[in-house]
Every structure is written in structure tokens, then in C-alpha cells.
Symmetry: C2
Subunit: 213 residues, 2 copies
DNA sequence: ACCTGAACACCGTTCAAGT
DNA sequence: ACCTGAACACCGTTCAAGT
């Protein structure tokens, strides 16, 4: 099969899905395609453009569900759809975060979200909500320090002891249960609950501001 | 002056401040220090550890102001202090975002924030708020696609025409004024207003949840 | 103990050449 | 028009050697 821009980008996404974004080099990608590195440059200007194409392709996968007419429910559904791509392409957030300006597919997604918000909010308020959503618009919440607990129980115990001595509130917080709308969900971190907890704070807050006379 | 871990890290921060994080390579840094690249490895295990040390040093600069006893005001002040480091070290957010687990200074900052939130919130609610703040805890709001308007007026006009045709809501939103608590702040994006708009949405929302019986 | 020099296994990208 | 080969200017990091 002849090389094409689409095939280069698709293979790059497959490689990133399998081995991470760092594994995508012009050299490793060309090898996967059975071609010499320089052959890629006929279909892509440089590596930066390749990553931008990868992002565009992945963002295009965000599938908006049929609007219900309820702006808050529709906004929530759109964010849930964005969240799905982060599960199938865990490298995507890092690639998105390093893009300068939005790709066409990204503009489509932004357009869909703003249009939805405008169902209940003024233009300036919708603008603010877009900023407040931040990375959550793309389905990830930028956890910064992941704080995934160590899998080794001995290491975890040592870490807990360290926290207890110097950072008691951090320890308490790490141990504290996750609160969902239906009550206590469980101990530790529930990504899904935390994502929508923040989303609801923002959307509910915006709704309240919108209805203030 | 003899090389030391502190001097290596300080010089790396100075280099990143001047030329960006990408300009910090073991080779360029060693050249600035008038030493051969391998000399750095006596003071730092590898580049990853160097960047972690840079982050720790910068996060340590976050200066908490004297607590007022009002948890919301104190939380806001702590976030404002975190925001200041992003202005003096614009590369910091990218370095922070790629660290796996929190550095000691990061734990100190988290401890201070959780302690402040616990002045008015339950442990599980404080936990959720910490997640909801996300990158804002470190003073940046992860704007993802920066959408800084092109400085060239011709390019800006062409971009606006493009938006008008395919993404009218995005255009409207880009043009819409920023809403502060005191009314319209001005057209375009006001980073400061947007940062605290989101923060207030989160803190006010949490306060409301805390006082529900 | 601390710094050096040469080398290794990688990068992205250029240029001139092949077919 | 599309792919190749060799080269350039970079990386982070190892190893053995110097002082």
C-alpha cells in the first residue's frame, strides 16, 4: 500500500496508543511503515505537524450525542464524549496541551460546546465557562501530580508514614472518601466522580449566575 | 566557585527563565557552568531528577500570606501566590505537568491548601475541591489551545473571516467581553479575571454544598 | 572526591541523488 | 512524484580514565 498522509497519521496514532507518545519518532514510525525516515517528509512538513494531525484526528472522534434541548445535560454529554477519547488515547492530553492553536476538529468541538452553553447562558458567561472548563473541555482534568498510590504495599506504608509525620492533611485527604451525588462512593480517587463533580460545580454555578436578575 | 547541586539547579532555572525549558539540556547547562556535561551527573542523577529539582525549587517560592481565618479568602490568597510563580517562571507549568509524584515543596503547598479548605469544608469535600482546582492549585489554568490572537492585523482579519464562516459561536465568544464581579471588564481575554472566575465558581459552589443540611 | 574525554545509541532535519 | 542514502547538528547517558 502506498504511503499517504492519512496512513502516516493513522500509524502514528496506533504507535502512540501502543507505546506512548515518546515512542513516536520519525525514525520509529518510518520503520513501522517499512520505509526510510525521509519518506515521511513528503506527507508531513515536520514532526510538529504530524503531532498536530494526530491531535486533529483524535479530537474528531469526539461524537456529540443528539441534543436534548437541555443545555446543561447536553454540555455534560459533550464532556463525557470528550472524556472517552482520553481512555482510548491516553497520550492525547499531552499532545493537546502542547499545541499552540486549535485544529479544525478542535474548533468544531469548541463550536458545539459554545452553541450548547448559549442555550442557557449569555455570550460573556459562556466565554467564562469555556475558560473555567479548561482542559476538561478535552476530557482530561490535568491532575498534575498524579498521586497514584504505590502498588507495592511496603512502599505505600512507608509513604503513608512519611505523610503522617509531615503532611497530615494530605494524608487525611488521600484517605477521605469520594463524595458523589448519591452519597459516599468509596475510598480513594474516583476519576469519573471527580471529573463530573468539577463540571457540575462550574455548570451549576454558571446557571445560578445566569438567573440572577 | 565549586559546582554544587544547588548551583546546578539555580543555573538551570535561570536558563529556563531566559530561553525556555527546551533550552535546558545537560550539554547547554554544563556549558553555562563552564564544565563538561558529565560533571553534572555528580550532582544530579539524570535529567529527570534535575527537572524535578527545578520544580521543587520554584514551588517552594510560593509564599503563603498570613491566614485571616476566613477559609475562602485564605484559599484565594494561596492561589494568587501560586499564580505569581507562573509569571516569573513561565516554563514551570509544563515541567510541573510532567512530574509523576509531588515534590516535598509541592506537598507543603498541598498541605497548606487542604488545611485552609478544612477551615470550612469536610475532608471529602476538600478532597473534591482539590481535584476540581486541578492545575489552578499551581497557578495555571491549562488553557490548552492558547488562542492568542495573531499580532499581524491582516492575519487576524483572515482568521476572523474563517471563524465567521465555519465557527460563528467561537467568533462570538472570542469577541465577547470578560465579565468580572464588577461588571464588564473589557473585550478579549483577561487571564486574571478568568482564573478567579473559575476559582470562585469552585469555592462558592463548595461553600454552598458545605452548608446544605 | 570530583572532573574529563571519548564513545554509544539515539534524535529531527538538510541536501543531493536516485527511479 | 515519490523514495533513498549519507550527512549534520544535536540529544541523554555509559564507561574508563585522569587528577
Amino acid at each position: 500500500m502506498a504511503l499517504s498522509r492519512a496512513r502516516v497519521v493513522a500509524e502514528a496514532i496506533a504507535l502512540a496508543d501502543a507505546d506512548g507518545l515518546d515512542a513516536v519518532s520519525m525514525r520509529s514510525l518510518s520503520e513501522r511503515l517499512g520505509v526510510v525516515p525521509m519518506a515521511l517528509y513528503k506527507h508531513v512538513r515536520n514532526k510538529d505537524e504530524l503531532v498536530t494531525e494526530m491531535v486533529d484526528e483524535v479530537v474528531r472522534e469526539i461524537a456529540p450525542s443528539r441534543p436534548s434541548g437541555q443545555w446543561k445535560a447536553d454540555a455534560r454529554a459533550l464532556l463525557a464524549a470528550a472524556r472517552a477519547i482520553q481512555h482510548s488515547h491516553p497520550w492525547a492530553w499531552a499532545a493537546i496541551a502542547t499545541r499552540g492553536s486549535p485544529t479544525p476538529a478542535a474548533l468544531d468541538h469548541m463550536e458545539a460546546m459554545i452553541a450548547t452553553l448559549r442555550g442557557g447562558l449569555s455570550a460573556p458567561l459562556a466565554h467564562q465557562v469555556m475558560h473555567a472548563l479548561g482542559s476538561r473541555l478535552w476530557g482530561f482534568s490535568q491532575e498534575v501530580f498524579s498521586s497514584a498510590p504505590p502498588s507495592d504495599p511496603d512502599v505505600a506504608a512507608a509513604a503513608a508514614a512519611m505523610l503522617a509525620q509531615h503532611w497530615p492533611f494530605v494524608l487525611e485527604s488521600a484517605m477521605s472518601a469520594t463524595h458523589g451525588p448519591d452519597g459516599i462512593v468509596g475510598p480513594g480517587c474516583d476519576d469519573e466522580a471527580e471529573f463530573f463533580f468539577a463540571v457540575d460545580l462550574i455548570l451549576d454555578g454558571a446557571e445560578r449566575l445566569a438567573t440572577i436578575p
